[in-house]
């Protein structure tokens, strides 16, 4: 347990630095945009030069860049992400509203891709070179080549439009008044296609990783020792080989979280799911840079936390992690 805590502390300190770089970097990037939030606001709502001046003053946009950066960091320390121009609401509220939907989407997609992917990978890796191994290998490669948004469209055409089995868009039936279990079922049916679109791509990744990992573990010497001890093949495959091959996949979970967040932008767009990704697209369309900045920040924090959790899980799974520190 102490091993995990020590790891956690070290990683937290490093993460703070990384997040600081992210904040400053993103701030500077978005400052480079021609025109600012006020210009965007004026374009959509109209107003004269005097209004522009007063708005700039009110939103603190007339100050120098370093001052604004300092102000922003100070606000961040109080968990204040500023005000959205396009929605005229605090950004924090907006994000907190949309975040759960994206989290639901991501967690479900990760469960699908990791669970089913590694399972199929074990099936393929149990007998390397067999017919089913080659089939799964080529199938997964083809799947990995598919653009997520296109898969979403195809699934939507087939299942929602033609077959009418599932709803086309949104996260739940609007104003249905459903509660409790019925509501959960409604949300679930809306999420099936987006989760499938997002999850199938990464399923291919985990399948291939597990398959390759198992092929590698099979070659290791301790497998020969297990055979010499007469351990049944089934137990060797599941308890020894797959267990060892699982480790790099767990690491990949952390790395994929950033990519999946990015992928959710297009998927949410295709299925009109009101999540963080969709909000980002809306922010871009409205040239609402504070909102975009807020979303980038929250995404980065999310990725950091997921990676931390993954690292701790990995430390539990691999007894060798942190061992050298403990001894010295």
């Amino acid at each position: 347990m102490t091993r995990a805590l020590r790891l956690l502390r070290r990683r937290l300190i490093g993460s703070v630095f990384v997040l600081l770089i992210v904040v400053i970097g993103s701030f500077l990037l978005l400052e480079a945009a021609p025109g600012d939030a006020v210009d965007a606001y004026i374009v959509s709502t109209g107003g004269d030069a005097g209004l522009v001046e007063s708005l700039r003053q009110r939103w603190g946009l007339d100050q120098s860049e370093p001052t604004r950066l300092a102000n922003y960091l100070w606000a961040l320390a109080h968990l204040d992400l500023g005000q959205s121009v396009a929605f005229s609401r605090p950004i924090r509220d907006l994000i907190l509203e949309r975040l759960p939907n994206t989290l639901l989407l991501m967690v479900s997609a990760t469960a699908l891709s990791f669970g089913l992917g590694s399972l199929l990978g074990v099936v393929a890796g149990a007998r390397p070179g067999s017919a089913r191994d080659r089939l799964l290998s080529i199938g997964s490669l083809a799947l990995y080549a598919v653009p997520g948004f296109w898969l979403g469209l195809v699934l939507s055409v087939v299942f929602a439009v033609q077959l009418r089995w599932l709803p086309i868009a949104g996260i739940e039936t609007i104003a249905s008044g459903k509660t409790g279990f019925a509501r959960a079922a409604d949300v679930a049916s809306h999420l099936v296609l987006p989760v499938a679109a997002l999850g199938f791509i990464y399923l291919a990744l985990y399948l291939r990783m597990m398959r390759a990992g198992m092929a590698q573990v099979w070659r290791q010497d301790f497998v020969r020792a297990l055979i010499a001890r007469g351990i049944p093949r089934r137990r060797i495959v599941i308890r020894h080989v797959a267990r060892n091959a699982l480790l790099p996949l767990v690491t990949m979970l952390g790395l994929q979280s950033a990519q999946m967040l990015g992928g959710s932008v297009v998927i949410e767009s295709v299925f009109s799911v009101p999540g963080l990704g969709r909000l980002a697209q809306e922010a871009v369309a409205a040239r609402d840079t504070p909102l975009l900045l807020g979303i980038i920040l929250v995404s980065a924090v999310l990725v950091v936390f997921i990676n931390l959790a993954v690292d701790i899980a990995y430390a539990f799974l691999d007894p060798r992690v942190g061992a050298s520190e403990a001894r010295t």
């Binding site: 490093g14 630095f17 653009p147 967040l261 767009s269 697209q281």
Partner: protein, 276 residues
Amino acid sequence: MSRMARFFRSPEAIAGALILAALALMALIAPLLFPGDPLAIAGPPLTPPFQDWALPLGTDRLGRDVLAELFHGARTSLVVGLAAAAASLAIGAVVGTLAGFAGGLTDEVLMRVTDAFQTVPGFLLALAFVSVVGPSLGVVVAAIALSAWTGPARVARAEVLSIRERDYVAGARVIGMHPLEIAFREVLPNALPPVLALSSVIVAAAILTEAALSFLGLGDPNRVTWGGMIAEGRAVLRSQPFLSIVPGIALVLTVLGIYLAGEGAVEGTAVRRGLS
């Protein structure tokens, strides 16, 4: 056995190479086969495919020739894929070499910066960059490279860390070569092979990212892109799904070809490195 011969031993690598050759051909002959602006109106809108032999794949919502768009889209994908990969590999190799060779504070700082770029979801970063600077082909390439350089940087750094202990580096130091010169003349060229092994993955990812950006309307509006075609076809998805499906198939085949050829190439080099 030469690397080329080994590459062509696997049927997958051959299939990949064929697909890429077809893609390159499409891109090259596009202006010859379909001269003029592919975004110009060529016929009545929503003409179904295989009806008019002047418009073999029909037309889209605005009456543009789908086949012409398909061919010209290949150019965009290829250009973006190769350019973005080249840029990411270049940036990554330089940063990784600097970090690995200099060590100490430089290494720490550069690695934290790399972490920062890896923490922000690449697509979000690309989105932000394109929205700030404005959609054009060069910007899209830069946006993709902005997040893709981290992979090559880490690989390059790992290679350099092992190379810098070797004798010929010590020898160069003794001669009095400037550290930067050693880093980029002696160390970097030897660190390149595993970095270059990443190239097929990066090209594939770049093509997919560009397609997604175009799908969201953030691609170069003056160019035909397969992602843009899919977005266009979305409006008539119920009646003419084919308009969105065909460019998607083109994307799948292209990326698949890259993966297959890439795996074939890696197999060829991996065996060689294993023996040395």
